[in-house]
Amino acid sequence: MANLFAGVGTSHVPGIGAAVDHDKTQLPYWKPLFDGYGPAREWMEREKPDVVIIVYNDHASAFSLELIPTFAMGVAAEFQPADEGYGPRQVPVVEGHPELAWHICESLIMDEFDMTIANKMPVDHGLTVPLSIMCGQPEAWPCKVIPLAVNVIQYPQPRGSRCFALGKAIRAAVDSFDEDLKVAVWGTGGMSHQLQGERAGFVNEPFDTAFLNDLTADKERLINIGHTEYMREAGSEGAELVMWLIMLGALDKDAKEVYRHYHVPASSTAAGLIILENS
């Protein structure tokens, strides 16, 4: 049977990807951030998940205001890096796992989560930057990926409680997949940041620290953070953190923190990373 063994929460700041792509990770500006990613990459190499479900948001790449799916799962065999205006990132094509992805979609819809199913979905920095963070610059990504795109740009985004419940349903789906696969879920985005307006550059380290702490200490609090609290306390783009709650919902109740890294700034953002493992 498939085994969902761990979760990762990480920021997906485009500048982090650009630093990798343009060989800037050892510059004084970026080095402290990338030094902290070292142990996470070692963990990834050691654990070798077969499949990673990456929960991320599309930033006007595959989707736009023309069509705004709240939850869209990619079931294709591969996903091309998107052109976000610079030309596509020169990173490996993302390989999917159609059988598991379809199984999860079917299970979720029977479980009353009405998913959008995507057979063609270019993936932008929201998905490829976490791969760069965790895997560096390999010739091919070391795992299959199931993209789960969440609308966090158009208000109202899905509530934290719904995201957590979706994570639980994903866990049930993975648990019932009849193939020996080692599966991880990554929740991406955040941490506190605001890219827009006169308040651009807003960062709230105490909020972020409490969020990281409560992924293990007080899930109930995190699940109940509302839209306005996210926008006010974590910045207008900090509401991306609901995507970490899908990851959290997919884990055991008593999942343990095994690694954490936090750094300000990455571009205009507070960057965080956490690894949680089921016991």
Partner: protein, 129 residues
């Protein structure tokens, strides 16, 4: 549609809510069009002529042509869309962040290195100096 919302008193923040989305749809979709290399070439050749294909308001059109980064948000733009125009200009997020908050790119970058815009004074409009 309800205008007064619980997040209305967050300073310097333009939420892409239903009202904002209706106001900015065409503007944001213009920005979205710059994802395609062919469109970027066309826009580079003659910005004003390219904009004729999008039903923007006079104010939105002016804000695009003059790169009024804050004005674009006030006219319905969303940063993930308007940033595509910044990418077109080869500007980074620190430049645009500075332009929206009235400081230079270097000052904005320095503020981020020093830990970002502080929480104190920036949670409620009533706290603003």
């Amino acid at each position: 549609m309800r205008q007064d919302r619980p997040y209305s008193n967050i300073p310097g923040t333009y939420v892409l809510d239903p009202q904002h989305s209706m106001q900015g749809y065409e503007l944001n979709m213009f920005c979205m069009s710059l994802n395609k290399p062919k469109n970027r070439d066309k826009f580079r050749l003659d910005e004003a002529a390219y904009l004729d294909d999008f039903p923007l308001t006079k104010e939105q059109r002016k804000a695009v042509l003059s790169r009024d980064w804050l004005g674009l948000l006030q006219l319905g733009g969303n940063i993930y869309y308007t940033f595509k125009l910044a990418i077109f200009d080869r500007r980074n997020m620190q430049y645009v962040g500075g332009a929206m908050s009235g400081v230079s790119e270097q000052e904005f970058t320095d503020m981020m290195i020093a830990g970002g815009r502080p929480v104190e004074g920036n949670l409620y409009t009533s706290e603003e100096k």
